[in-house]
Amino acid sequence: MRKKTIFRGSIAVSTAAILAAGVLGTPARAADPVTITIWTFGDVIQRQLVQEYKNLHPEITLQIKKSDLDPLNGTNMVTACTSKTGPDVVAVEVQYSGYWRSYPKCFTDLRKMKTSEANVVAGIPAGKTALDFKKNYLPWRWEQGVGYDDSVIGFPTDVGGLEVAYRVDLFKKAGLPTDRDKVGKLWPTWEKFIATGVKYNAKRSAADKKAGKGFIDNAGTIYAAIMNQGTEKYYKNDGTDAGKLIYDTNPQVKKAWDTTIKATELGIGTRIGQYTSDWNIGMNKGTFATILAPAWMMDYIKQQAPDTSGKWDIAALPGGGGNQGGTQLTVPSYAKNPQEAYDFITWYLAPEQQLKVFKTYGLFPAASVLYNDAALLDYKDPFFNNAPVGKIYSEGVSKVKPIFEGKLQRAIDQAIGAGLGRVAAKKMTPAKSWAQVLVDIKKVISN
């Protein structure tokens, strides 16, 4: 009888153990070695620098989990903040900055953090709050990491300075100038850019036309470029945290939409979607002669089309100055090791490290103190025909004005992107598609 109860007990225990193992995972270890978990996407966290930090702090393990941007900054972060469990550091992309700035409760206020002694050897002084580091960064990029209650929720990593990447060989073939300054002068405005596209397309052979070759990879990308050249998008900063929705009245939206529609209807684009297999192949085959390229895209082009090395060059963006993307590293309020996380961020995003990242991966630094640095200004990229990419991009991002992003910016962008897609696919007239866009946006913003 006793044995029986033991059996029953052991079954109960093992059942509990099975359940517990599923819930608890591995047992907690001694506190000494610290693991910083980082949720990120793309190339925000660079392997080389991670190794460097490991050498600096052998006791710290950086556990990096990469996801796609939308699930990362959407579902995963919402779930983490709701359940109050999650990583020590999260990368938040600019498109989601408006959303997360309205939830400062999900983040540690970095004004209240102080750097420890840990990184003094690496040139990061101890006892500094976020406000002490503010002067190192581009002011409008810094603002994108400030919560609507003025708490500092993140440090900027890079600026997605936007310029035009073009194929020198294809421009030459089409009888266009190839020198980057002259190319930039071809298109002071977007109208001129479209006109150049029409001219380029007119020179295509019949075979090229049949193969679907064109001037720009996707005319739809013009929309975001123009939107980012303005001062307002879908929200007006009226002093309230939420801002006022102006997507249907803002002339900048109309200008960006109309210009993109015009480019689409004139057929200067190949209609290949970015980041598709067709795009990667087209990049190699010279299917398109231009890409609106944020700084971080240079590395992607290098990886996808290594054989086109030296055939590319970079020219200024029409309309002067552009930006697309950029990321903030944040420390969530539910971080288990906020001090170690803050120390890591202040080191990882220090100007010195940002310069290294730019040189190896082309992510353009948000640390504006570097913009006068000869190391940045003199940097030339052989893949892009020795273009002084440091100089070109720093001139571009200095012209960008801060934009109030607003909470649902990403969702509204997607509705409009779908609208442009419908016109490009000739499924709807521009007017009808715009009407549909308004309906879709209403659905998103209504609760």
């Binding site: 079954i11 297999s277 969702a411 609760n447």
Partner: protein, 329 residues
Amino acid sequence: MSHSKEREGRRKAPLSPWKSTTPKKATKTNKPIEGVASLDHRFGIPFIAPFFLIFLIFGLAPVIYSIYISFYKWDPLGGSTFNGVQNFVTLWGDSDFWLAMRNTFSIWALSTFPQMAMAIGLAVILRSKRLRGASFWRTIFLVPNITSVIAITIVFGQLFGRDFGIINGILGLFGVDNIDFIEGVIPSHIQIAVMITWRWIGYNTLIFLAAMLAIPDELYESASVDGATKWQQFIYVTLPQLKNTITFVLVVGTIGGLQVFAEPQQLAADGGSSKQFLTLTLFLYNQAFVNNKYGYAAAIGIAITVIVLIISVINFLITRRISNDGGGR
């Protein structure tokens, strides 16, 4: 009959090791049935408890919770307010919902019926006594089923690429213009249906094969004595015997078809520029996890449940009719 067989087997089966270690040998030898029964009684519940516990936590609780939140404006970060039946009213009037319904059933039809015909055909080939390496083929047919949906979508996305995809390349040889397998409504449905078909056809083939192997050879023998050709044998012997299996495959396929999610989501997370391949589950997912409208998404979930229930009832009625018919033969 099957019941009594089961009991017989039980009696003959060796006793559980739990029992053999107990000191009360007398009960073990004298009253074996009672012993087993008492074992069932004492250990049965703990043994099945893990399933029910997990089901309660991960199955029933979320269902009840989502019914609850479907009556709310539910924002996990921003707080929630009671909304009555407003979510359901909005859903009824939401054109996206009806669009998603159309897409879901279109993809379901395109993936289910051609697949079923092909699966039966393949099963006939696998059953053929002249086929060499039968077990090799039977095994390899399951490989697509265990392949990751993401991997399938990436590969098929390249096959179906508009400009450089191999399918358009082949069609081009016959003078067909490039088809846009993303923007076109029916082409995009075909692309998704092909992925589903590729993934599930092996599984269904094996089910049909199992059913065919259970058909007594006498039926074929007497059919051939009567002078039936192979084709006539297939039509008049094989197919009628497969009726129940066909219904089963149809039911399972329908439930799966209503949950098509990963394939369209991988093609374009928003379901396409004019939501041409937005399916019901993708619609639900986007409302919850992209637009943060959890209450509305819960309402969609309930709507999907109702649709599945309706279809299940229809299936049940049809199955009953068929099995009644089948009983006479």
